[in-house]
């Protein structure tokens, strides 16, 4: 059986056409399989994170992707990560929305409250457009957490910051 490493790769920098095509070509050239990946633009900057698996080292990955960084506008980094499929029992899924005026500390104040309740944030995006700051987070809460009580505490935290916070169950329709 061949040896399988898991390697986390991030590519961040100035956006231009062809970054994903070049990065994934470099990875497949090393025989690496793309497992989970996500790519987005953050205020116009290209940002990609992925986990790939195969028999090579982070150094080999960085060398293979070096052409991407040649003009100094993109950064690539790679490192080993343990194979970490099981992250403990899944909690109940909730969605957290925050919107209001832009000010420092909104995300930290709200996520601290979630963490203190034992909740785990599994996905989070924030957006600033004009004066409006929007946070949407997917949260897993252990079964024993009193979600309505947490929702009330989050509203209070939001009130102190002058933002609206809602926490609601995320229902999944199985079709």
């Amino acid at each position: 059986m061949e040896h399988v490493n898991h390697i986390a790769v991030t590519v961040i920098g100035h956006d231009r056409p062809g970054i994903i095509a070049a990065a994934t070509a470099g990875l497949s050239g090393l025989g690496l399989n793309l497992e989970d990946s996500t790519m987005t633009r953050l205020r116009g900057h290209f940002a990609m994170m992925l986990i790939c698996s195969g028999d090579c080292s982070p150094r080999q990955v960085e060398d293979a992707l070096a052409p991407l960084t040649a003009d100094g506008q993109l950064e690539v980094s790679a490192r080993f990560v343990p194979d970490d499929d099981g992250v403990g029992p899944a909690g109940h899924p909730y969605l957290l929305t925050v919107h209001g005026g832009d000010r420092t500390g909104i995300v930290s104040a709200v996520t601290r409250e979630v963490a203190e309740a034992g909740g785990n944030i599994t996905d989070l995006t924030t957006r600033l457009t004009g004066d409006l700051y929007v946070v949407v987070a997917e949260v897993e809460l252990p079964a024993e957490v009193d979600a309505p009580a947490l929702a009330t505490r989050l509203r209070t935290v939001g009130h102190d910051l002058g933002v609206d916070v809602t926490l609601r169950a995320q229902d999944t329709d199985v079709l």
Partner: protein
């Protein structure tokens, strides 16, 4: 009278076009208070909402909180919208509540008060909404579906102090509104 026959002419006055508030304005986050549908102020507000909705391209509904008035009144008109099935034309409801809601569907929503973003929101595609017409105060129950049902729920949410952002379907369900050159 049948809701389908109602037009803003029933109000007997010409509405004014009012400026539309944008998030994070606090008026959009407050629950609106109930109104007396027969109060001349309510009638004027109804006419203003219709007038403002009419001059706003692509606007299919407008709640009083969006023009800075925390009263439980909104206007809707989804006529001609490609995603609409049942259509009741232009109407204004006071103190409206959703009484029945079934068959959730996801759809993309925008809002004049959140001009730079859109979001995927799951809403009932069949609903019954009870409210009163401005002026006469007549009680009506609007049974509708598809896009008109979505518009009504969006407007009732405004009256309760919620934006579509409070209902989006996931962390990746908010989008920058595309502007085409």
């Amino acid at each position: 009278m049948s809701l389908q026959d109602w037009t803003e002419a029933e109000l007997g006055i010409h509405g004014r076009v009012l400026p539309v508030m944008q998030a994070p304005d606090a008026v959009l986050s407050a629950a609106s208070s109930p109104v007396d549908p027969a109060d001349p102020e309510t009638v004027r507000l109804a006419a203003d909402l219709v007038a403002t909705m009419r001059v706003s391209p692509g606007c299919v509904g407008l709640a009083a909180s969006q023009v800075g008035v925390a009263r439980h009144v909104f206007a809707v008109d989804v006529s001609g919208h490609p995603k609409a099935r049942t259509v009741h034309g232009t109407f204004v409801l006071c103190n409206a509540v959703v009484e029945e809601a079934t068959r959730n569907e996801k759809g993309r929503e925008g809002c004049m008060s959140v001009p730079d973003l859109t979001g995927d929101v799951k809403r009932a595609s069949r609903i019954a909404v009870r409210g009163r017409l401005p002026g006469s105060g007549e009680e009506v129950v609007v049974e509708t579906d598809a896009f008109e049902a979505r518009a009504l729920q969006h407007e009732v949410d405004h009256c309760d102090g919620y934006l579509f952002l409070d209902r989006v379907a996931g962390a990746h369900a908010v989008y920058a509104r595309q502007t085409y050159l």
